[in-house]
């Protein structure tokens, strides 16, 4: 009976999942843009604050959205050894379920970050929660445990004493995670159903906090793995390398993918076009002035945006890299910007100030700010008509009244 109910719930959710699921860090293609988010609130305010709920611990990972479910992770306790996966109803913020685990790997991290730094991922049926302790946990949408890996138990030197932060994502039926650090550094593809390795590859022995992005090249999905060495494009099912860009890249902001184009934080910003034939990527342009700070770049239509370490939002022509305009925001930023179908960029600074920037005109203009009054080091997530953000203590939803 319970299984039947679960099945019915699944199909009900699957129906609503067609809305605008946000299934991993920075949503579609891991790039921060949701074209089907067409009714977002144009201001952040008391009026558009739909609800907020308390969280049992800190975290930097974004919430993910699956139908009417919002899932977020947290870590708590004196050494952050308590790992949480929390699921709320998107419509009203009511709690649906919570699962807790003891960390099996190292929980040491710089005090600014947290063991719940990576954003979880989903394939619409399952939720994959990865932590800085390298615990990788898969539950279904009801919170039933499907599999668990302790990647530091499996690979004892895979850790970073400053903390890991790379977020996994799903491509096809493979969950891809970059577990990159100074010592036992690797990336792996896991069978989404069993958690068994489909492939595992050595990666540069250097701390790396960037997350994979997905390129859509023809009918193929190619996953871009970024590191200090550059970018490697792999086939998600096998991990086979399809292309390599070897000019080096940042280890903090991640690339943004749009179709078959990849905007890489490399020597400032470098635009690449990827083909599916295994040839080297074509460098469209490199612009040293477009150097992102911690926040990852984002592409809106014909413009590409980066936020530098001084908190200046730089807008450049996507085709040429030529700077179009700059506008100063309220820094500092640890999270990255996101945008829906219109020309509004949403970002929160570390002090908790939400900022909405209209980038449709010849220069950018901040049209709304809202102080949440709590530390925010994370990136928002978007539904068709709502924005979700997690602070140190709460999960918040903003929507049109």
């Amino acid at each position: 009976m319970k299984r039947l109910l679960s099945l019915l719930v699944f199909f009900a959710l699957a129906g609503s999942a067609a809305r605008a699921d946000w299934l991993n860090f920075r949503g579609p293609q891991g790039s921060g843009r949701a074209l089907d988010a067409s009714s977002l609130p144009k201001e952040l305010s008391d009026e558009t604050l739909a609800w907020k709920v308390s969280l049992p611990g800190r975290g930097l990972g974004s919430p993910i959205l699956i139908g009417d479910r919002v899932v977020v992770t947290a870590a708590s306790g004196p050494d952050q050894k308590q790992l949480h996966i929390l699921c709320f109803r998107a419509s009203d913020g009511s709690p649906l379920w919570e699962r807790k685990f003891w960390a099996t790997g190292r929980t040491m991290a710089h005090k600014k970050t947290n063991v719940a730094a990576p954003t979880p991922a989903s394939d619409g049926e399952r939720i994959f929660a990865l932590y800085s302790s390298n615990d990788l946990i898969c539950v279904d949408l009801e919170g039933n445990l499907l599999w668990m890996r302790g990647l530091t138990l499996d690979y004892p030197n895979a850790s970073n004493s400053l903390g890991m932060a790379s977020s996994p994502l799903v491509a096809g039926d493979t969950l891809i995670a970059q577990v990159e650090n100074d010592s036992e550094s690797f990336a792996a593809g896991f069978d989404v159903a069993t958690g068994i390795n489909k492939w595992k590859m050595d990666r540069p022995k250097a701390a790396n906090w960037t997350s994979p992005t997905v390129l859509e090249v023809g009918d193929d999905e190619i996953v871009a793995l970024q590191s200090s060495k550059g970018v490697v494009g792999i086939l998600p099912d096998t991990g086979s390398a399809l292309f390599e860009f070897g000019n080096g890249a940042s280890t903090i902001p991640s690339s943004a993918a749009v179709g078959d184009q990849l905007y890489v934080p490399s020597g400032g910003l470098t635009a690449l076009t990827i083909s599916s034939d295994g040839s080297d990527p074509e460098s469209e342009w490199n612009e040293s002035a477009q150097r992102p700070g911690t926040a990852s770049p984002i592409v809106l239509d014909e413009k590409v945006f980066v936020i530098n370490n001084a908190g200046v939002l730089n807008c450049a022509n996507r085709e040429t890299g030529e700077r179009l305009w700059r506008v100063r925001l309220e820094p500092p930023f640890s999270g990255s910007p996101v945008a829906g179908s219109d020309s509004l960029i949403y970002i929160f600074n570390e002090g908790g100030l939400g900022q909405v920037v209209d980038v449709s005109g010849e220069e950018g203009k901040t049209i709304s700010t809202y102080d949440l009054g709590e530390t925010i080091l994370s990136t928002p997530s978007l539904d068709t008509d709502a924005l979700y953000i997690r602070s140190d203590g709460h999960l918040w939803k903003f929507a049109q009244p």
């Binding site: 699962r99 685990f101 499907l146 302790g150 138990l153 030197n157 004493s161 100074d182």
Partner: protein, 392 residues
Amino acid sequence: MKHFALLGLFLTWSLANSLPSYAEVSESLKTIQSVGLEGKGNSEAAQAWSELVETGPTIILPSLQAMGEASPLARNWLRSAVEAVVENARSSDAELPTAEIRQFLLDRSGEPNARTLAYDLYASIDEEAATELVPGMIDDPSPGLRREAVGQLIGKGKSLLADEKTEESAATLRNALEAAREVDQIEEIAKLLRKDLEQTVDLPHQFGFLLYWNLVGPFDNTDRAGFDTVYPPEESVDLAASYEGKDNKEIRWQDYSTADDYGMVDFNQPYGPIKEVVGYAYTEFQSEKEQDVELRLGCKNAWKIWLNGELVFGRDEYHRGIRIDQYILPVTLNEGKNTLLVKACQNEQEQDWTVQWQFQLRVCDSTGAAVYSTDRKPTPDPVAKPRRRGAE
């Protein structure tokens, strides 16, 4: 009152008799206990997990008991099954086996994490009754439970301090310090005793840091190659020997001791803040018996550690941070003499936050209690801290 007691006994008896036997759920529990590395047994465990959760509250006690013979991964499977059952029971107003949970909690032979989970469950059912149990946990083998009791004592000590009852406050905090196992609590108590009550605290002894060593260095670590290079101390330790060190200089073992609160063994003190070098530290530990212990190391340089000539672990990460108990390494000590050799590598980075070339090491039981060498010497008198110098 007597009737209530009889009713309670009857309910406990009834519940106990309605519980499935261990054998009835044992197959599911065994399946979960069998999960292994690299995803081994995940699919079977998922099925078993589902069976346990569907069975309902009667699996709580067997699952807690099964944690005693479960790996850290398997304990998590069992924990989440227990918590899913509790969540389901609450949503359907089903009865939870409160008496059995309490009984399990009070039995100190249970697995420490399982007992902490039992406490949390019990507190969620009857917070007042759970709180009443806390003072009795001051010497509990479960770190999580002991932490609750130590926390209460710290609170009491602070309250007495606020009332200017300094002697009683100091006595209470001394008791808390004796019982404390977790670093943040020890630090909080030591700070109160030292700063507010002007008491002395032998923190290195409290933590059990190894304070007396023999050091030799520097060997070469150009291009970080020294981490994998086998220098003579790795083959045998002869404290009277001399070696050819970096730049062909003759180097010898020298005595070293530290009075640092956190037991920091600082190679920069004898050798200066040099770069691209390797140093070794050697000490001996007399164990009163053969025993399982944990070597608890903190180090922000690349390091290796050997016990009785056998490599325990090594890690080639540089300058990403250091803290007490950063690495916890289970080992078995021989009765009597044991040798410990630590290799610490300094790299080429020149930022001011990469000057440190140091480590800290203590020997603990699995609860974090210090295990002392039978010939442990007193903590050395503190000396002036060396001036911090920039990297060369």
